[in-house]
């Protein structure tokens, strides 16, 4: 018997998603992205804002009109508006009888956060004044964001490249498991500005053609986007008790570093394969339970191929050749740190839809990408369980499993036996989480 609390969320397993927010080049809201995916429309185009040194200057920018309508906060620029929009959307879905914003904490991920503030001030030759620039710090950013939304629960900020949101999710799950908060807003964001675009260009990671073609024989590099993604997490028991609409249940997540290279993945796929295997094991599932796989696939040949190898390694060739694989990235570009939580949002939408949309911009598959990519027309989701795969610089490999509430409820008795979870207490005697006023 494994440690009883090894489960994501501990005794509060499984964790329910009761709110979702997403801002990307496709606009605000899951529906905006969903529509573009359904009709295979891409929002990648010439960058209108400050360009980096990378050419072609193509990416997925959030529409200016949308940002203009967003609330600003102290020290808040573009990054703050993105985050505030997505967080606001997620809270609007989740809040209601039995849950107020004051009972929610914030776990945030970002690679560079409000870097635009630094970009603007660093353009001059003024001497470095760390104290003056501290207002651009991530901690202040998160505090302002939480205050703007009235979140009084614990706050944490992580910066782990494109898996930053998954680290935030890990802390949020711990905060829930340890009863520090009734619910957690977990989100991530990044903007597409001078440092990001130029940095990826310096690394020669950008697509020279400016086309994001995941898994295609012509895939030639990443096309960046920007955005923010948020989910509201709480225990499924709490969500059901208060009658909240549950958009999916997070059964497990594992983050594994392959320690291979600063920017390239381990081509053997060992790290990602381990993340997948551990995520399945934590959830008490096998490859046969998976209905589809959604992956962050930004057009990088080395990452596309690594994912193929890793999935085959973890699930076996037969399952890997059968489970439908899709991605949202051709529509809006690679969302940087927002990717990890965007994957959760995307997975929950796939569960709702009950079908898997095709990957677009694929003409001829790369022969080294051997998975069952959905091409041409949508396919039915054969099982309400979605595996999400997210990769990040520094050899980061994240795997998560989201299931429909019904599937999760079926699983709970099995997991309760394996992990010695306590039976759900009657509603009247159920202990309340500690007051969120004292932050962790």
């Amino acid at each position: 018997v494994r440690s009883k609390s090894n489960l994501l969320g501990g005794d509060r397993f499984p964790l329910a998603v009761t709110g979702r927010g997403l801002v990307s080049a496709a606009g605000l809201g899951l529906e905006s992205l969903a529509g573009e995916l359904a009709f295979a429309r891409s929002h990648l185009g010439p960058l209108s804002r400050q360009r980096g040194i990378g050419e072609p200057a193509v990416g997925g920018e959030v529409p200016a009109a949308l940002l203009g309508a967003a609330a600003t906060g102290p020290g808040g620029g573009r990054a703050f508006r993105l985050a505030a929009l997505a967080l606001g959307e997620a809270l609007a879905e989740a809040l209601g009888p039995g849950l107020t914003s004051a009972e929610i904490g914030l776990a945030l991920g970002t690679a560079l956060g409000p870097v635009e503030t630094v970009e603007e001030r660093a353009g001059s030759d003024e001497p470095l004044d760390r104290a003056r620039l501290s207002a651009a710090g991530f901690g202040v950013f998160a505090a302002n964001l939480a205050a703007s939304a009235g979140l009084l629960g614990p706050k944490s900020v992580f910066s782990s490249t494109c898996v930053s949101g998954l680290c935030a999710l890990e802390q949020a799950a711990a905060d829930l498991a340890l009863s520090r908060s009734r619910a957690m807003a977990v989100g991530a964001l990044d903007t597409l500005g001078l440092v990001m675009q130029s940095g990826f260009s310096c690394l020669k990671a950008l697509s020279p053609t400016g086309r994001l073609q995941p898994f295609d024989a012509a895939h030639d590099g990443i096309v960046l986007g920007e955005g923010a993604s948020f989910v509201i997490l709480e225990s499924l028991r709490d969500a059901r008790e208060r009658g909240a609409k549950v958009q999916g249940c997070l059964l497990s997540q594992r983050l594994v570093s392959d320690c291979f290279h600063f920017t390239s993945p381990d081509p053997s796929g060992e790290g990602m394969a381990r993340a997948i295997s551990e995520a399945l094991s934590d959830a008490g599932l096998s490859a046969a339970d998976l209905g589809c796989i959604t992956v962050s696939a930004a057009g990088s040949p080395v990452y596309d191929r690594m994912l193929s190898v890793a999935v085959e390694k973890a699930l076996g060739r037969e399952a890997a050749s059968r489970i439908p694989v899709t991605t949202w990235e051709p529509a809006v570009g690679h969302l940087l740190a927002a990717t990890g939580i965007a994957a959760v949002v995307h997975a929950s939408w796939l569960l709702e839809e009950g079908r898997v949309h095709p990957v677009f911009n694929v003409e001829t598959l790369d022969p080294e990408c051997r998975l069952c990519y959905v091409l041409g027309s949508p396919t039915r989701l054969s099982s309400p369980v979605v595996l999400t795969l997210v990769v990040g610089f520094g050899g980061q490999n994240g795997a998560g499993i989201l299931a429909s509430p019904e599937a999760a409820l079926d699983l709970v008795p099995r997991q309760a036996a394996t992990h010695q979870l306590p039976p759900p207490p009657p509603a009247a005697s159920r202990p309340r989480p500690a007051s969120p006023r004292v932050q962790r």
Binding site: R130, F138, S257
Partner: protein, 307 residues
């Protein structure tokens, strides 16, 4: 409180002067060693290219981690065996100087002017990546970037993962950099950055088990808490305590995120000779008007000195 074993710990600091490095800290309390060693990439088991120098910015962190991992018994220098375990790194506020340098490179106008390294070192997570490449820590890896509270938050994150059984062992490392006016508060500083690093190796123990009573390392209970600076603020809310603080470092350095971990390591040294010991280390974030604290309690007897 989370019960765990601190099987290795180390902290130190380094002042960088133009053209040379000036190690400081001589005569400092036992918990603080000067960073005198030159790191040799060949000593490390990971995939770090030994022909490549360990970046100066990260060197104090790498050294702190190396000393801590060695003392924990997780790593033997030169053994070539990769380590198992997670890694949580504290990086306060993001490496502003690196971002600014990179933007200035870009403002010179061409792709040739900017280097890939310049971009990579603008990312707060690069310090963790370097440690991963050096030591091969192939499990969970995260970077906490929460201003002056990053160090305590990193420890809290690691303690949570141990408490919940998400990890069996985890290294926590913190790097703080004082630059500009803050660095100039150090007597004789001519503008060079001052870097403070601390690292701890934590191992999970099942509550109620007797593990740790006879094994190397120090069994402790840890609790991390936080709150707003207000009427309920703890008395030392202005980071004025000098207990366990490196001698020679001026007061403006007390706000650095790595300081609470340095103080924790200092307490470990002092508590070794006591039958029972506990302490509370409180740290504030002057930008956020928030505080965080570590409560520590000695458990069982400690078999191996941990500095």
């Amino acid at each position: 409180m989370t019960e765990c074993i601190i099987s290795g710990a180390w902290s130190g600091w380094l002042e960088e002067s133009p053209g040379r490095r000036r190690p400081l800290g001589e005569g400092a309390p036992a918990a603080i060693d000067p960073l005198l060693e030159v790191l040799c990439a060949e000593d490390f088991p990971g995939r770090w290219n030994p022909r490549r120098a360990i970046p100066l910015e990260i060197e104090p962190l790498a050294l702190a981690a190396a000393r801590s991992l060695e003392r924990s018994g997780w790593w033997e220098p030169g053994s070539g065996t990769g380590l198992q375990g997670g890694l949580v790194v504290s990086c306060e506020g993001g490496p502003l100087a690196a971002v600014i340098d990179f933007v200035r490179q870009l403002s010179r106008g061409s792709a040739r002017a900017a280097s890939p390294t310049g971009f990579l070192f603008s990312l707060p997570s690069t310090a963790a990546s370097v440690l991963g490449l050096l030591f091969g820590l192939p499990d969970y890896q995260a970077t906490v970037a929460q201003g002056a509270l990053s160090g305590i938050r990193a420890l809290g994150h690691a303690a949570d993962l141990l408490a919940l059984g998400r990890l069996e062992r985890v290294a926590v490392a913190a790097l703080s950099i004082a630059e500009g006016d803050q660095a100039r508060a150090l007597p004789g500083n001519a503008g060079g950055a001052v870097r403070l690093a601390a690292a701890l190796c934590l191992e999970r123990v099942e509550p109620g088990s007797d593990r740790g009573a006879a094994s190397p390392g120090r069994r402790v209970e840890i609790e991390v808490g936080a709150g707003k600076l207000a009427a309920t603020a703890p008395p030392e809310s202005r980071n004025e305590s000098t207990e366990g603080f490196p001698r020679g470092l001026p007061q403006p350095f007390a706000d650095l995120a790595a300081v609470p971990l340095v103080r924790l390591i200092s307490w470990l040294g002092a508590a070794g000779g006591m039958e029972s010991a506990d302490t509370t280390i409180t740290h504030r974030d002057p930008c956020l008007a928030e505080w965080a604290q570590i409560k520590l309690r000695k458990k069982a007897s400690w078999q191996q000195a941990t500095r």
